[in-house]
Structure formats: C-alpha cells, structure tokens
C-alpha cells in the first residue's frame, strides 16, 4: 500500500511541475516525471507476493513458484516508446519556439489569446 502512495506522490510532483513552472524545458521534464510515475504504477499492478521473474530458462524445470504477471511489463515498454516520441516532439517544438520568440518563458509567449 505504501508503494502505491509513493507512486501517487511522484505523480503529484509531476503535476505540480506542470502547473507552477514557467520555463519550457521544465515543463517538458515535469511531463516526463508524470510519465515515469504512471509506468511505475502499471508495473506495480503486476506484482504478486513471493513470485519470481517470468522467464523460462534452459536446464531449470518449470518451477512451481508463481510468476509475476508479464503483461503490464509489455504495456510499460510500449508506453515508454510513446513517451519518448512525445518528448522528442516537445523538444523540437521548444527549440523552434525559442528561435521565434528568443525566450523560454511561457508568460512572455502570448501571441494567441482570447
């Protein structure tokens, strides 16, 4: 239970960063942190008490112990790939924004309003 609360605390740290920070690069880092928190929570959902890793090895018999659920690990792998792409897109947009506005401060980039 305590692990899920810590995971939620990490999510709150990321959301705090998205709400409060004014620099474009810090916004990108904060969105990365929320992504890490979500992936961690997905992996934790697959855990079973006293289970071992879900890999069959040559020479060892199929053991009687229960294996950890491997499906959330595949979900997390896909999710990491997607967030890598989104971060790359955000960084490219931040570079172009800096080139047009000469600043990384979001309170000064205000061409669209109303």
């Amino acid at each position: 239970m305590i692990v899920y609360l810590l995971c939620f605390a990490l999510l709150l740290v990321g959301i705090y960063g998205l709400l409060v920070k004014r620099d474009l690069v810090r916004l990108i880092i904060a969105s990365g942190i929320t992504g890490y928190a979500t992936n961690l929570m997905l992996v934790l959902f697959g855990y079973k008490r006293g289970a071992i890793y879900p890999i069959l090895e040559e020479g060892k018999a199929v053991s009687e112990r229960v294996m950890v659920d491997p499906l959330p690990q595949a979900l997390v792998l896909t999710s990491i790939v997607i967030e890598l792409g989104i971060t790359a897109m955000l960084v490219a947009l931040a570079i172009r924004l800096f080139e047009k506005n000469k600043t990384f401060d979001i309170t000064k980039i205000k061409r669209l309003s109303g």
């Binding site: 916004l27 929320t34 997905l42 959330p72 997607i82 792409g85 955000l90 669209l112 109303g114």
Partner: protein, 490 residues
C-alpha cells in the same frame, strides 16, 4: 478479411512516401490520393454489406484473451465512412493549398499517419491497442498543427502537446485500474467481467471522462482547441475539427460508457451537465471573435456539446440525434474550415474586419459557405435542422425542459454568429482585391462535394433510409450484452 487493411493501407503509404519522395511532391500526392480513395471504397462496401453482423478479426491468429482483436460493428463502420470521406475532401483541398503554403512530402506522410491512426482507433477491440492508436494519431496531429513554420503555430502545437500528454497519463492510470480489476484488456471481456463494484467504475470512469473529454474538447478541458484549430493549415483544421475530436473523443466515450460499462445514471448526468455547459459557453465565446477560424473553433466546442447532450440523454431518440449530429457536424464543419482556408488564401488575412465584398470574386466559396452556415444554424431543409430537432425532442421527452430550452437558445445564437460571418466576410462594404487564381479547381471541387453532402444527408431522416443506415448504429450502442455475445462469438 478486409479489416486489417483499414490500418495497413494508410501506414504502408506513409512509409512508402517517406522512402520514395524527392524534392517535388508528385509521388506523395498520387500515392495519398490512391490510398484515400481505396479507403473510401472499402469503408462504404463494409458499411453497406454489414447487415447487423459484427466482423471480428484476430491479429496474428491469436484468440481473444491472448491476442488483439479487431471488431467492426455498425457504429465502427459508420465512423469509418465519415473519416474516409472527410479525408478525401481534405486531401483534394490540400494539393493546391499546401503548394502555396510550403510544399513538402512530409505533410502527406503525416496525413496518412493521422488517417491510419484514426482508423485504428475505430476498428480495434482491445483497450490498450486503442491507447496506442490514439497516441499515433495525436503525434501526427501535433506535427501537422505545427506545419507551416509560423510562430503562433508552434505555440498552439506546444499547448496541444502538453495537454495531450496529461490526458495520455490519465488514460494509462485508468487502464491500469481496469486491468487490475479484470486482468484482461479485450473490451468485450472487460464488459463481461467488470465487477459491479461502484468504486472501480467511478474511478476509471471519471479518469476516462477527463482524458477523452480533453481529446473531444468538452468544456472544462477545451483550452487547447481554439489555438490549435485556428493556427493549423485549413485542411488540417477541417480534419481535426471534423473527424479527430469525434473519432478520438466522442466515439471512444460512446464505446466505453455504453458497451463496456453499461448504463450508469451518474455518468449520464455528468455528460448532460458538461454538454450543456459546452454548448452555451462555447457559443457565447464565439460571438465576440473576429478571427474567422477562431470563431469556427469555438463553434466546434458548442456543437460537440450538442452531441454530448445526446449521448447523456441515453434514450434511443437521444442517441439517434447524437449520431446523426456527429455525421452532420463532420460535413458542415469541414466545409466551413475549407471555406475559411480559401478566403485566407485569396485575401491573405483571417480577420473579419478586413474582409469585404468577395461574393462576386469567389462565387463557389460564397455559395458553399452560405449552405454551411444555414446547416450549422439549423435551418430546414439542411441536415443540421433535423439532428438538432431530434435532440430537442429527446430532451423534452425525457423530462428536461431546461436542456431543451438551452439547446434552442444555442441554436439561435449560432444563427446570429454566422449571420455576422456572412455579413462581414462575404458581403461587407469595402472592396478588396481577391486573388481568385489561388483558389484552384481542386479546392473548389472539394467544397462543392461537401455542400452537396450537406443537403443529401438530410435524406437520412426519411424512415425507410433511416432503418438501413442509422438505426443499426443506435441499436449497437444501446445493447451491451449484444456487443459481448457478438464479439466473443458465444
């Protein structure tokens, strides 16, 4: 079977365009038009020959709990037809528009990714596969909104990207909760095994309303839409506002909340409240805008409010109105954005105060924009009137006269707002020079096709035609156990 080809054709075209296109974009244009035309033919064939069945396809021949399945029923086939028709008209429009803006093959590759992703969202039957295709589509959308290298486009795309990534995080948390409760990801199996425990349903349902409501631009989550839809190039605005917020937002909400979760009165109330707020505040905010595309973007928020009210009413008549309004809004909003694009191309500005008398110089644009404005305001015999009337009657029938009154008020204010657009944009007092040569025949053909469809789809209300086209869609939505049995084959 033909189901995986809805995803294979656009994605393969995107990769081949990236490989073989050189400096000029001829090959890109030809390949993308071929791909979209074949998608139109496939989707119309699928919709016409469906006859109430549900087509199920297993990817890689792995059975349902172990593998990913694609499931197409009447609602999916309906959405596929809408997506491919709007994509065809947007591609026809963009050939000359993009050549004037900044010609490149990258636009066509991203457009194919967008279409392929939306098709993937519509045909899939697996919850995590839905999330992956939503991300593919949004990725292409962020790139296309920023196409054109103007300063405000990057700002709009950055806002859209940050808010989209927040909503993706919320979707993942919701998927985690549902997986830990049912230990499966196939939507039909989730519908079967979901415990009647209200805690799980409220948590995941609330997260999904927030996340997919952000993608559908319902009112508290709408803040990215005016910037993104007004800064994007015109055919991309037509695609985004016409099909993306519906395929990614409204369709997923209908599929999750009617087929997977079943009827829940709490969420119907939530949808009614959010839809009413979107509808009223959207049209009030649109009244004060002078930028043509920003005005149209606020009207998108308002019309999506109508559709969400229809979804929230939950009765057969309400869902019929919602589905019909989904089709109509795709057609006339795409037409309105294409008109705004051709105005911008000919006059060089988007500000209504600087436009003047162009009805002689751009006859096709003026005529089709009059058709679209009458449609969106709900004037008979155009299609907007019938769908709004159905939602109005459904609201009164279920005993909510306040919602019906606000729907009528919203319709009146929409009429006022579009009279302003017509007066300032097309019949103003100033005489301005309109470069008519820039509005080529491809752009004009796309607008005329959509205007004809505006009038033709009002024929869908005639009872004989409605039983074939719209009634199977509504029946599929309302029938949760039917969805489970038809997908799983029991």
């Amino acid at each position: 079977m033909i189901l995986p080809f809805f995803i294979i054709i656009p994605l393969l075209t995107a990769f081949i365009i990236t490989l073989i296109a050189g400096e000029r974009d001829n090959w890109a244009v030809i390949l993308s038009i071929l791909a979209v035309v074949s998608l139109v033919i496939l989707s119309v064939y699928c919709f016409v020959s469906l006859n109430g069945r549900t087509l199920v396809y297993e990817m890689g021949r792995w059975q349902a709990p172990l593998g990913i399945i694609l499931a197409v029923d009447a609602l999916s086939a309906f959405m596929l037809v809408i997506v491919s028709i709007i994509a065809l008209t947007a591609i026809m429009f963009s050939v000359q528009y993009i050549r004037n803006l900044s010609p490149s093959w990258k636009y066509y590759a991203l457009f194919m990714l967008l279409t392929g992703g939306m098709n993937g969202v519509i045909v899939t039957g697996d919850l995590f596969n839905l999330f992956v295709f939503v991300e593919i589509t949004l990725f292409a959308a962020y790139g296309l909104v920023a196409y054109g290298n103007k300063a405000e486009e990057f700002e709009a795309s950055f806002k859209y990207a940050i808010m989209g990534s927040i909503s993706s995080t919320l979707v993942l948390v919701g998927i985690g909760i549902i997986y830990s409760a049912t230990s499966t990801l196939t939507m039909a199996l989730i519908a079967e095994r979901l415990p009647q425990n209200p805690t799980v349903m409220y948590w995941s349902g609330g997260l999904f309303v927030a996340a997919f409501g952000l993608k559908a631009a319902i009112m508290p989550f709408h803040a990215w839409l005016p910037d993104a839809h007004s800064s994007a190039p015109a055919p991309i605005s037509a695609m985004l506002s016409g099909v993306l917020i519906k395929a990614l937002g409204v369709y997923v909400l209908i599929r999750l909340f009617f087929n997977v979760f079943g009827e829940m009165p709490v969420f119907s109330e939530v949808f009614l409240v959010l839809g009413t707020v979107s509808m009223v505040i959207g049209v009030f905010l649109a009244l004060g805008q002078w930028d043509v595309k920003r005005l149209l973007a606020y009207h998108s928020i308002s019309q999506i409010g109508y559709i969400i009210i229809g979804v929230g009413l939950g009765t057969t008549l309400g869902l019929l109105g919602a589905v019909f309004h989904l089709l109509n809004h795709a057609i006339f909003k795409a037409l309105l954005f294409l008109n705004a694009g051709s105005l911008e191309m000919a006059l060089g500005t988007r500000d209504l105060r600087q436009m003047g008398k162009v009805s002689k110089a751009l006859p096709v644009t003026s005529f089709t924009s009059m058709v679209a404005s009458l449609s969106i305001s709900g004037i008979p015999p155009f299609n907007g009137f019938f769908s709004k009337l159905i939602i109005f009657i459904a609201a009164i029938q279920i005993g909510r006269p306040v919602v019906a009154f606000l729907a009528g008020l919203g319709s009146l204010l929409t009429l006022a707002s579009f009279m302003k657009v017509q007066r300032y944009g097309f019949h103003g007092e100033k005489t301005v020079t309109a470069d008519q040569a820039k509005v080529g025949w491809g752009m004009r053909a796309a607008m005329i096709v959509l205007a004809i469809l505006c009038l033709a789809t009002s024929a869908l209300i005639i009872p004989g035609i409605r039983e074939v086209t719209l009634d199977p869609v509504v029946e599929v939505i309302m029938n949760k156990t039917g969805y489970i049995t038809r997908v799983l084959g029991r």
